[in-house]
């Protein structure tokens, strides 16, 4: 069974450009999460989808970030326009249920560098 897949694995873009990250969750997992780790800091929650609906987007930094999950399958996270402070590793995770204590499976992450 395939795990959570993210691409690209790396992206280097200039300040002001747009970047779209993609996450394919494990098949059948209704719950999808985005997290971000800025260099040297903790991994921070961005948002949570249940199927195609946003359950919690309290961690989204600002309106330059737009997450979608059309059809409740894969998800995209768009940053437009990108700023230097957006650099970091973006992780996606999925889980079958959403109860606390349920194991979430993480992807390898996308390393975004804004120059």
């Amino acid at each position: 069974e395939a795990g959570v897949t993210q691409f690209p694995s790396h992206s280097v873009i200039e300040k002001g450009q747009t970047v779209t990250l993609r996450c394919d969750p494990i098949s059948g997992h209704d719950n999808l999460y985005w997290y971000r780790r800025v260099m040297g800091k903790e991994i921070k929650f961005l948002l949570h989808f249940v199927k195609e609906s946003k359950q919690d987007e309290s961690g989204m930094p600002n309106n330059r970030f737009l997450a979608e999950r059309t059809g409740g399958t894969y998800s995209t996270l768009k940053v437009q326009p990108a700023e230097l402070e957006d650099s970091g590793v973006y992780f996606c995770a999925s889980s079958q249920t959403a109860g606390g204590g349920t194991e979430a499976f993480f992807g390898q992450g996308t390393r975004l560098t804004v120059v």
Partner: protein
């Protein structure tokens, strides 16, 4: 709100020596506790978790962690480390009864020296 503190950003240890990675948490409500591991060039993997019951939990590769409610700690230990244990380890919590929104610590890089 919850928070997780991992005071040690890096821990070097010789192969076959014991290791302890420290984790303290803060929360006004009950939480579940986790340790995740990230091996080089890989994603995060769940190492072990405490949900309820015995306060000592173990992983399949010899790590163990003990939940200490009075000290709000969940330290990770291994009596004898191997080179393959070199990785970054993240302590994390999530709310009981809530959905799987995880609060992570800043991570501890374990470097096993041959």
């Amino acid at each position: 709100a919850q928070s997780v503190t991992q005071l040690d950003s890096q821990v070097p240890v010789f192969e076959e020596a014991p290791v302890e990675l420290r984790c303290n948490y803060s929360s006004s409500v009950s939480v579940y506790l986790f340790w995740y591991v990230q091996y080089p060039n890989q994603g995060l993997q769940l190492l072990l978790k405490y949900l309820s019951g015995s306060t000592l939990v173990e992983s399949i590769n010899g790590f163990e962690a003990e939940f200490n409610k009075s000290q709000t700690s969940f330290h990770l230990r291994k009596p004898s480390v191997h080179i393959s244990d070199t990785a970054e380890y993240f302590c994390a919590v999530s709310l009981r009864g809530g959905y799987q929104k995880v609060t992570f610590g800043t991570g501890t890089k374990l470097q096993v020296i041959p």
